[in-house]
Amino acid sequence: MSKIQATFERLQAQGRQALIPFITAGDPDPALTVPLMHTLVEAGADIIELGVPFSDPMADGPTIQRASERALLKGVSLRQVLGMVANFRADNNETPVVLMGYANPIESMGIDDFAATAFDAGVDGVLVVDYPPEEGAAFAHAMHANALDPIFLLAPTSTAARISQVAALASGYVYYVSLKGVTGSTALDVDAVAARIPGNTLGYRHSGRRRLRYPRCGNGRCGRPYRRCGRRRQPHRRNDRTVDAGKRLRECSCLRLGTSPGNRRRKRTARLIQALPLKECHELVDQAVTAKDQAECLRNSPQVQPA
């Protein structure tokens, strides 16, 4: 049984839902990532999603794009991210770590090489945003061969056929995209999400529930993890405090986390956010912005062309 699966089963036995924060590896500084991961765990994170920076994060909004740019400016590569996970594993062998990123850095490294290295580093699952099931079969097999969970996305618009396709490849959990648009978007329609919750609509009731036996996690405002573990539950409408938490985080702009509404989850998220060294992060973000401006000034300054 994979560490992710074990975590979900433990939580289900306790009647709890998973809290899965996301941070971009290497932002605002590579040296801060591993301590941040430990802080997240101490503050109640059940699983950590670690973003692998990419130059062209098409499916992400400006917050995560800026986080990626800052990390890339510090020269963070996929191999380094794997090194960070290995460092984290030196002190924590329980909390599952899921890498989230784009296909090209992985293909550049080679899928098999990546899978083997990721397993050695202690990674538990990998979510590649631009691998839909029709292009992700080879990747999923390489992951399974190395005892890693390939995590796939589902959207409210996914058809029964696609749900089956994903179910055939995925393990660990399935990421349910609960809003239209990119991450961090404010256009979350709570009613629409409620209507689409697996088990709540025609398509899912008749097809998905039976075929999709994995826990489902989702994003939301500020990447709010939304997870269902068997029981059906409507998202709560009054989520003011969650929004506040989201705003605080967006200011920091290096973190994407939150919770689905509900008092207990709100409290857990608030606790988690309070535990983070936000002030230090802000300072590092400011420094990174200045460094980026300087780099751009240098690049745009007229250069003497060789004759």
Binding site: F54, D56, M58, Q65, D130, F152, L153, A155, V182, S185
Partner: protein, 395 residues
């Protein structure tokens, strides 16, 4: 005719290992909808009749094939013929594709179109077509390109389009494409994304090629009519590669014709400052398809360099990647360094050739130098580079 018959892409949009649909799940429904709509339209006589009518009466097709006689004499061998895509309405081949996609958007009931643009030529074509069909138009353009191509930005605004500056990443074409994708995924219900080149997720590379292949189909007929034979070689510049695919595609079954693509080598391949993805890149995944990409050793996309904003793109259409790899020996992709001196030497420009009065453009310059590099043919057989849009002449 070649055997086996060339019938790529497959149903999932693959050209061998290239192409495909590498997008987040949220975009899949939009692509499925588009695939279905295009599959219906493709064989609908009404759709084709409207497309052809607009190409003829709005774009001004067919574009002529012009024998650059004095230039041919000067080069001393091969006879050069130019396919004059610059004479289309809006001044480039881009509008062929925009007309096709806009008619499709209208059939699908989408009142809003979006586009990305580098040099601004595709943006201008999209804005023009949107104005013609009464659609809302939003064009994403890197802030760096907005600065470089101010005249085209002005034209787009004049045509009623909203031009959105993109300040992320390298502030050029690839970042505009990222931003347009984000707009699309947010506004899928009412928005049609008009991609300007033969790249992006399936069905775009196939669809744009099909719309642009009017160039090659016309050329086959015109060459036969004017010269009673086909040229020995076709030469076209390759950025994303839509003009090149447009002229190459109908010629693929004609075995006697060599197909030569020319990439922008900027300050030279060895300098690292270029946009020659096929020559110096390696396969990877970007913007929804697998193709040759300019990337660093960690798989991060690197910034490109070309004197021509229209060629400044780190990828290339997946079908070009396939043609390069497929072992079709008559298809070659060359690269050419930028050189202002070379431009004035080799161009059929007004200054050097008062009789021709065709304005030089860096894209044509590249093709011209590729022609110069060919061994002059003593028999004086016709070469025929595709003449591209004149958007870049000011640089």
């Amino acid at each position: 005719m070649v055997a086996p018959r060339y019938n790529l892409p497959d149903t999932l949009g693959h050209f061998g290992p290239y192409g495909g649909t590498f997008v987040a799940e949220t975009l899949i429904p939009a692509l499925e909808e588009l695939k279905e709509a295009y599959a219906q339209a493709q064989h609908d006589p009404l759709f084709n009749a409207e497309f052809e009518y607009d190409l003829k009466h709005y774009v001004g097709r067919p574009s002529p094939i012009y024998h650059a006689k004095r230039w041919s004499d000067r080069l001393g061998g091969a006879q050069i013929h130019l396919k004059r895509e610059d004479l289309n309405h809006t001044g480039a081949h881009k509008i062929n594709n925009c007309i096709g996609q806009a008619i499709l958007a209208r059939r699908m009931g989408k009142p809003r179109v979006i586009a990305e643009t580098g040099a601004g030529q595709h943006g201008v074509a999209t804005a023009t077509v949107a104005a013609r069909y009464g659609m809302e138009c939003v064009v994403y353009m890197g802030s760096e390109d907005i600065r470089r191509q101010a005249a085209n930005v002005y034209r787009m605004k004049l045509l009623g389009a909203t031009v959105v500056p993109v300040t992320s990443g390298s502030k050029t074409l690839k970042d505009a494409l990222n931003e347009a994708m984000r707009d699309w995924v947010t506004n899928i219900a009412n928005t049609f994304y008009i991609i300007g080149t033969v790249a992006g997720p399936h069905p775009y590379p196939m669809m744009v090629r099909d719309f642009q292949s009017v160039i090659g189909r016309e050329a086959i007929g015109q060459m036969q009519e004017q010269h009673g034979r086909q040229p020995d070689a076709l030469i076209a510049c390759v950025g994303g590669g839509s003009n090149a695919m447009g002229i190459f595609y109908p010629y693929i079954p004609l075995e006697g014709v060599r197909l030569i693509g020319v990439e922008a080598a900027g300050e030279g391949i060895e300098s690292g400052h270029h946009a020659a993805s096929l020559t110096a890149g390696r396969p990877g995944v970007l913007h929804g398809n697998r193709t040759y990409l300019l990337q660093d050793e960690n798989g991060q996309i690197i910034e490109t360099h070309s004197i021509s904003a229209g060629l400044d793109y780190p990828g290339v259409g997946p079908e070009h990647a396939w043609l390069k790899d497929s072992g079709t020996r008559r298809i070659r992709h060359h690269h050419r360094r930028r050189s202002p001196a070379g431009l004035s030497r080799s161009m059929p420009s007004g200054r050097h050739h008062p009789g021709t009065r065709i304005e030089p453009c860096p894209r044509l310059c590249r093709q011209a130098r590729a022609v110069l590099a060919q061994r002059p043919d003593p028999a004086g057989q016709p070469f025929r580079p595709g003449r591209q849009g004149h958007a870049h002449r000011r640089r």
